[in-house]
């Protein structure tokens, strides 16, 4: 007996390009047949796994409990939420309410198993869906194999695991059916996006112009489809293949792309001319860079921002800290002693002789830790004038460490006052050389590797 074609058609319309998966799921989960005890649904990000599973279960009117692992902080939390979701699902499917007192707590996976058995004694069936179960935080190692056996222990329960990438035998059972959701192809992606075109004109069209709303909509749809194809071929094919980021890129670039039409330079159907006029948009990578504060793509307008400057001595402290992190301590005499002539000789004529050991340049490695006294000593050496050792300097060190520009290494709860406590910088060469120039200090003069 085949699944109800009517249901299939409606789900298919909602989620295009997933016919095969919808048909398979609908065959497995309907009222007529018993469902498999467990099923693994897998596929990469944004391939419609969760939505399709949910839609099929809803359409077939099966009672189901849905647990999203992203919301669960610990393994225990997942168990508690699971039992709560099951109770809610069963309450919703039948008229009478279940007495919840026996299910007050659920400490372990065994407790969950007992609860589920008791719960499903007088219910026909229940589908339990674990979404993104492979992303569960603090999951005990036995969690997945145990859950996979729920379906075997409890006859009227079937479990669906939604994962991104199933490792081989991650459930420790044989014969669990897998359902793969492949990523959308080029044509599929474009056809999905073209179902929801963005409008060209944001403002309602003035009455006196001979151009109706319907025409505008039609033009938008026409242009949007071609535009999406162009975006896919130029940008998204390489860097934004999944549907969500593809849509993101398309939406980001749409406004600057159609701006010439709004300005009246091109007509709505001049796609090829529009494409040539806007080719810089498609060549750049700006749209791919994620940023919290949305940047205007295309135009490089720069707003005058208020800059918050560090105090004078804080800058010097950071420079000194960088030097302390990236200069070897045994060379300190060479670089910072004021009474000795700098004896460093450039290795003249050593061009033909290659170094025996190729060493990684110091500035490419991690910053090394230094004690506080070395920092203070270097600070005194690089300052152009004397600095009285007041508490202000120590306050600044504390401030910089809470800004995470200086990090304390070693034990996290260690005592700051302990003289053995070591520090490390948490910024790079570009930042510190700009700081140094700000206070007229050429950092490269003091750096053992010369700053290149």
């Amino acid at each position: 007996m085949l699944p109800d074609e009517l249901i299939l058609a409606s789900v298919n319309e909602q989620y295009p390009c997933r016919e095969l998966q919808i048909r398979q799921l609908s065959t497995l989960y309907n009222h007529a047949f018993p469902s498999p005890p467990s099923l693994v649904v897998h596929g990469s990000e944004a391939t419609g796994k969760t939505s399709v599973v949910k839609a099929i279960l809803e359409a077939n009117k099966l009672p189901f409990a849905f647990v999203n692992s992203r919301e669960c902080i610990t393994g225990r939390h997942l168990l508690e939420r699971t039992i709560a979701a099951c109770l809610d699902a069963l309450d919703a499917s039948s008229d009478e309410l279940i007495d919840r007192t026996p299910y007050v707590r659920c400490e372990s996976i065994s407790a969950l198993s007992v609860h589920l058995q008791r719960l499903l004694e007088d219910h026909e069936r229940l589908v339990l869906v674990f979404d993104a179960i492979d992303k569960q935080r603090e999951a005990p190692p036995t969690l997945l194999p145990a859950m996979a056996r729920f379906g075997e222990i409890i006859p009227n329960l079937s479990v669906i695991f939604i994962v991104a990438l199933p490792r081989p035998r991650f459930l420790h059972t044989a014969g669990t059916p897998h359902l793969h959701f492949p990523p959308y192809s080029r044509d599929q992606s474009i056809s999905i996006l073209s179902t929801s075109p963005l409008p060209i004109f944001l403002e309602p069209i003035a009455e006196d112009i001979d151009y109706t709303e319907e025409e505008a909509e039609e033009d938008s749809a026409w242009l949007w489809t071609r535009y999406c194809a162009a975006i896919w071929d130029s940008i998204a094919k390489g860097a934004a293949r999944d549907l969500v980021s593809f849509r993101g890129v398309c939406e980001k670039l749409w406004r600057p792309f159609v701006q010439p039409i709004i300005d009246g330079k091109f007509g709505t159907r001049d796609f090829s001319r529009l494409l040539i006029a806007n080719r810089t948009l498609l060549q750049g990578e700006d749209a791919l860079l994620e940023s919290i504060v949305p940047k205007t793509v295309g135009g490089n307008q720069k707003l005058a921002r208020v800059t918050h400057d560090l105090p004078y001595y804080s800058k010097y402290l950071l420079c000194a800290a960088y030097l302390a992190s990236f200069n070897p301590p045994r060379q300190d005499q060479l670089y910072f002693m004021k009474n000795t002539e700098r004896k460093r000789k450039k290795k003249g004529g050593a061009a033909g002789r290659a170094a025996k050991h190729r060493k990684i340049p110091r500035h490419l490695l991690n910053p090394s830790a230094f004690p506080l006294d070395r920092l203070l000593a270097i600070l005194h050496a690089i300052l152009p004038h004397d600095l009285p050792p007041t508490a202000d300097i120590f306050t600044q060190i504390a401030t910089l460490s809470s800004l995470r520009l200086l990090l304390r290494t070693g034990a996290a709860g260690g005592d700051v006052l302990d003289a053995g406590c070591k520090w490390r910088v948490n910024f790079g060469w570009e930042y510190v050389s700009a700081l140094g120039r700000n206070v007229q200090l050429e950092m490269a003069d003091y750096l053992a590797s010369g700053g290149d």
Binding site: I73, I292, V293, P311
Partner: protein
Amino acid sequence: MEHQKCYIYTPPTESEPPAKKRKVNESGLQASWRLREKTFQELWGQQEKRIQTVLDNANQTTLTSISNFVAKAAEQTEGSSKIPIGLIVAGPSIASHGTFFSQLSDRIVGESRTCFVSISSSECPNLKTLLSTLIKKATARRSLDEDDEGLITTSSRKGPRLLSYDLQLLYDYVQETGKVAVVIAFQDSEAFDGFLISEVASVLSAWKDRVPFVLLFGIGTSVENFHDKLPRSTLRNLQGEQFDVVQAEEILEKVFWTTVCDEDTSLRLGPSLAQMLLEAQKDHLQSVEAFVEAVKYAFMSHFFANPVSVFLYADLEFSEINEDHIEAIRRLPSFRKLAEELLAKNQPKELRSLLEDDGALFDFAVASITSGQQELVRMIQGIQVVDLIRSCISKTNRVSRSTLYVKAASGELHGSASLRELLLSVKKSPSDVLSNMLDVLIDSGIPNLPEAWVQIQEDLESLAGSTEKTLRSEHDIRNETLRTTVVAQKVELSKQKSTLSKNDSAYSKLLATFQSTLEAFFEECFARVGDMFLSEVLMYDVRGPHRATFAPKTRFAVERALSAPHDYLGCECCKSSSKGGEEDGLSSTQPPTAILYQLYLESGTLINVHDLWNAFHAIVAEDDEDDQSKSMALFQRALAELKYLGLIKASRKKTDHIAKLTWKGL
């Protein structure tokens, strides 16, 4: 009652002050301290109120834009899967973040039905505690109804109990109270681990469809730093705006100006102290709160330590002070200066009466306090005028009012190069600049401006009305042409004034009047400030106490105490040794820790403990060689103390050695 294990405490019924209270000797100069304290309370009360108003108003625009953002985000919450996030760039002075966020909290909670939670890094080491703190703060739930496993019993829910970090609790709360947004503020975003923030963002975005979250991050360094911390998948879930808090320097400038500008201000910061405080702000820590504290400290030490300050008390009677105060005035440097002036003016009689007649001096002092006050107010007005004119003449680079104040109060501004330059550029300015300048000056509401200016403004208007061109002054460089003549194979350059039109010459005349009145005005404002009688009372200009209080040399003090204990102990026994031989400050009478520290200073990075002990024993032991036990005990205690101070630690490199950890003088 110490013998009883417990007893009922009955507080003493009599209201007399306890016997051990510090005795204030109420004779001599101390007699006026009550009056002085009263004056302090009054004056500082007014001052504090003014400063608070400035601080409250400083961030109004930023606060408004943030609360608008929150309100907008709360409306648009449906549909978008991205969490709205506000990045508040608040500058590196962490101390002032707290005030800003509390203002923000008041603002946001006051304006809409939102719930505001502020989270700091110290209370949230991991995701679980962060979420439970968040829920606890948001729902204002007491921690009482949480059992040992972290389960919450709520009366409204039946069935499975919820864990304390379950956002379901927050969801229920939001449903119950009908909040439109849950605003979560991370005050010190730098201190949070990037991983933790991205975890929180992922959990919150999973709940976004049910609970309307808005995130606010306080940023000390830069937005780029914040970006670098987060993975791309997290950034995709966030979308927001950047807000800039007003720069600390700007607020400082405003606060400084309020402390000096007002007419009612009786006590002002002296030039050198003001200079020191402003420089400390620039060099070391930018925090307005610290500056306000320093000003308060200045007020306190002025009134509590300087008896003459009693003259600032508003209605002081001669009978309220004793002759010691009058005598104190006679010893002020400014009185000496006044005496010399009077002698130079050949008025010995007046001087004699001031010296001999207490009543006359009192009356004179009270009068000169009032007149000195007016002088200072005039000086402030002069600074305002300078600042306004500078802002009108665009090409001159701006000097802040605080710098001007420091210069003016020390008497340097009068006749200084910058003032002359200013007058010169006024001389050259064309008519549009002048009319703008006059508009600004007359609209500014500064009292006591020269009356001639209104007339000049009217004349200028009528003059400018007749032509469309901007009028140029005769000193304008555009009215000059260079003429080169070759005389006997030498090139001579000569400046030639082109002929002025009628209007231009009329304008030049107006300008000259303006310039001369301005010069006279400056003369009046700045000339007499430098050496004013009783300037010690009107201004507090002592830097020592501030240095000792606000920038103590902690490490230096410890090092000095250890290396030269006599400086602190002042005992007789060590005196001779420290005075006599500078080379060898060691003596057996010093505390053992100090002896050991001085030996420690002489050694290298690794110290052999046995050598140290031998040297120590040689100093400490007196005659009896054999009895080592006492000096050994002293040695061990001293060594333990040095270790406690963090100066040494056991070394793993060599046995029997200790490692030196600090160096003197850093």
